[in-house]
């Protein structure tokens, strides 16, 4: 039994090398365009998700239009620079890559230079990035700012809270401010104060104090992880036990790392994110997570629970990258061609089972792979999080194990 497991592990590891072995077909390159030098964790997890799927696709064999292909992965560092991101996509098109898996930086310009090459965003959720009519080659598998904002409004407004909307002045925070503005536009009475705060500020005491004086009964902080950590620290250090809500960055390991000296401050932080599991239960995601960890190891958050267990970060972004590669493989088969235009059109017609067990698909009028309905809410306790029970979707979702 042990031998079988060992053979399976070795096979999987080899498969996960994603094209590093000898070629069994013509090489077909997927470019990962991500900020490897500026946010290494994000770049690496996207790359790993792509490599895991590539290994599995290659192991199964990829024959398109009578020709065998082997998927290869090439990484390009965007360094969070739109100019570099655009340059990377241009070179990907020049080198006849089959697709780009992208963090999202520079997409407003890079989609043009891609010359029809499919680009899939797996992190940034900003509005306007994806539009099948004007940017037919751009797809996204990640929660959108629009979906997160509207789901937060849908969740919070019925609670009759007076919400302080704090958003930082980063691109992410500004996009969030816009999305929140639209989401709460019909219910402005729920908003106690709406304030822009400096990104990465170490002390948000004055802003949080203004929110408190405005009789806010909840903080909704949309910004970089550092902004969220600072807002929590400002509130808790002043003795204000206000509930705090956040977009997906609330689950970023950095928030917990920043607050590691006061673990109790993290308790109760509720964030919106893309669901990690489907109704079939945690089985599919757990299987994906095990394959991911088998190939690349665990992603440690860098904090421990009260019982001393290491806290791990589930590979959410990797899951989106993984799902796109599987959709791409299905599209290549459907198109019977590697022509970018044909592959792009085929991407609108295929459905695959995602790593979380849910259907993953695009269509001709929607290039978003995570629909608004897939946004759920989770709440932290003891440095790990669990789906809330007072939201219909979240209540159906099991908790993913996050400790070892």
């Amino acid at each position: 039994m042990t031998r079988v497991a060992l053979i399976a592990a070795v096979t999987l590891a080899l498969a996960a090398c994603g094209g590093s072995g000898h070629a069994r077909g013509k090489p077909l390159v997927i470019v990962v365009n991500a900020p490897f030098s500026r946010t290494p964790y994000l770049g690496r997890t996207i790359e790993n998700g792509v490599r895991l799927a590539v290994g599995e696709v290659n192991a199964a064999g990829l024959r398109v239009g009578g020709t065998s292909y082997e998927l290869r992965v090439q990484t390009k560092d965007s360094a969070l620079s739109p100019a570099r991101a655009v340059s990377n996509v241009r070179s990907a098109a020049d080198e006849h890559a089959v697709a780009v898996v992208d963090e999202g930086t520079g997409i407003d310009a890079s989609w043009r230079v891609a010359r029809g090459l499919p680009i899939c965003i797996v992190f940034a959720g900003g509005a306007g990035a994806v539009d099948p009519a004007t940017r037919p080659n751009v797809f996204r598998i990640a929660p959108t700012d629009h979906g997160v904002a509207f789901r937060l409004a849908e969740y919070l407004i019925p609670k009759h809270l007076r919400i302080a909307l704090l958003h930082d002045d980063s691109d992410y925070g500004a996009a969030g401010a816009s999305a929140l503005g639209a989401a709460f536009s019909q219910n402005r009475s729920s908003v106690a104060v709406d304030e822009t705060v400096p990104a990465d500020a170490l002390d948000l005491g004055p802003q949080v104090l203004r929110a408190r004086r405005a009789h806010a009964t909840a903080l909704l902080v949309w910004g970089r992880p550092a902004t969220i950590a600072s807002a929590i620290a400002a509130a808790r250090s002043s003795g204000w036990d206000v509930p705090v809500f956040a977009p997906p960055t609330g689950a970023d390991p950095f928030v917990r790392q920043q607050l590691a000296d006061h673990p109790s401050w993290v308790n109760g932080l509720t964030f919106a994110g893309g669901r990690l599991t489907a109704e079939v239960g945690p089985g599919p995601f757990t299987s994906f997570e095990q394959r991911y960890e088998g190939a690349y190891g665990v992603d440690r958050v860098g904090v421990k629970t009260r019982a001393g267990q290491q806290v791990l970060e589930p590979p959410e972004t990797a899951m989106y990258a993984y799902d796109f590669v599987n959709l791409l493989a299905a599209a290549l088969l459907k198109a019977g061609s590697i022509d970018p235009g044909k592959v792009t059109r085929a991407l609108e017609e295929v459905t695959t089972e995602g790593a979380n067990g849910d259907e993953r698909a695009f269509n001709r009028s929607n290039h978003e792979g995570v629909v608004d309905d897939d946004v759920y809410f989770a709440r932290f306790s003891d440095m790990t999080y669990a789906p809330v029970k007072d939201d219909p979707l979240s209540a159906t979702l099991p908790t993913i194990d996050q400790t070892r």
């Binding site: 489907a278 459905t351 849910d358 259907e359 269509n363 897939d374």
Partner: protein, 354 residues
């Protein structure tokens, strides 16, 4: 089985297809046995490939069986001769049971958008509408789709013909299917017929044959409740065949497939009773098909389709833009250039001598 709807009621069956229901009944019924159990045609099995359009609807949810009731309105724009040239369908799915959904509604779709009141936005694929999301308990998913007229028109229940001041309405739902004739035990079949009459959702039944069954065919149609106006003339009747109306003008008709009339059967012989029940079941199956023009991802869900036929003008295609012309031809341009050169040259000479 032609219902003598009117004196013009003579239309021969247009569809000659031996299909699932009848074929199934024959396949499971050995032909040379006596007093044996024989299943009757299913009132739910389609008798032809369409409707519903595009292979119908499907659901690929993981574990949840959603209860879905579908209400569809099909708008058929016809020209002054009665020929359809545009078909749109607005389908509202009332989705119950909490959980994920991923529905595919097959149809020859050209465009699709969410209709007012929809809780979500439909997606468009080649030959299908897709719905994906999470149902927190109840969701109304309403899509307005523009269909490819040629393919959608072939599945419409009513044909309109306008000629020489007469508008003829033709029930287009006829289909011929295989079945059997035989003597049967009357009492249980009568009870089933009575239950069928009262049932909101008809269920399949069976008969006990007391003679060797013989193959035959039967043509059935979905009765259509047709109401509205043709010109100034009002129409309201159940149409099972053809109706010539001595009127012309703008057509505004609403058409709904309706259950067949259940005529008294107590006096029928066993053989005639079997024919009556069989025909009724097949007619119910045909009605169900036309009530499901776009299909329903829940096979057990309720369906209703209303067809609205309206005389309209075909939109004019946009005129091609006239090429912009300066009103100057090539020879003229050359002459002007040559003149300019000569003028410049002359000016240069004059200047050099000044």
């Amino acid at each position: 089985m032609q219902g003598p709807d009117l004196r013009h009621d003579h239309d021969p069956p247009r569809l000659r297809i031996l299909l699932a229901a009848g074929a199934t009944a024959l396949a499971v019924t050995p032909l040379a046995v006596a007093a044996q159990y024989s299943p009757l045609p299913s009132p739910a099995a389609p008798l032809s490939n369409v409707p519903p359009l595009g292979g119908g609807a499907s659901s690929s949810t993981e574990r949840v069986h959603h209860r879905v009731d579908a209400v569809t309105t099909v708008r058929v724009a016809i020209n002054r001769h009665g020929a359809p040239f545009a078909v749109t369908a607005t389908q509202s799915l009332d989705v119950q049971v909490i959980g994920d959904y991923f529905f595919t509604i097959g149809a020859p779709v050209a465009t699709v958008e969410a209709a007012p009141g929809s809780d979500s936005t439909p997606g468009l694929r080649t030959a299908s509408i897709v719905w994906a999301g999470f149902n927190p308990g109840r969701r109304r998913l309403t899509a307005r789709a523009t269909l490819e007229p040629a393919r959608a028109s072939a599945a419409l229940p009513l044909r309109v013909e306008v000629s020489s001041g007469v508008t003829t309405l033709v029930n287009e739902t006829a289909v011929t299917v295989g079945t059997i004739v035989a003597d049967v035990e009357r009492a249980p079949l009568l009870r089933y017929y009575d239950a069928l009459r009262a049932a909101k959702t008809p269920v399949a039944g069976a008969a006990f044959l007391t003679s060797d069954p013989q193959r035959t065919t039967v043509t059935v149609r979905a009765p259509l409740q047709v109401s509205g106006t043709i010109g100034a003339r009002r129409i309201s009747r159940v149409l099972t065949g053809r109706l010539a109306v001595p009127a012309a003008g703008v057509v505004r008709l609403t058409v709904r497939p309706v259950r067949p009339a259940f005529r008294p059967a107590a006096a029928l012989s066993g053989r005639a009773l079997l024919a009556r029940v069989t025909t009724t079941l097949l007619t119910l199956a045909r009605v169900r098909q036309y009530q499901s023009f776009l299909g329903n991802p829940d096979p057990a869900g309720a369906n209703a389709t209303t067809y609205r036929y309206v005389t309209a003008r075909r939109p004019r295609p946009l005129a091609a833009a006239e090429p912009v012309s300066s009103g100057r031809d090539w020879a003229r341009t050359m002459a002007i250039v040559a003149g300019a050169v000569i003028a410049v040259g002359a000016a240069g000479v004059a200047w050099s001598r000044s």
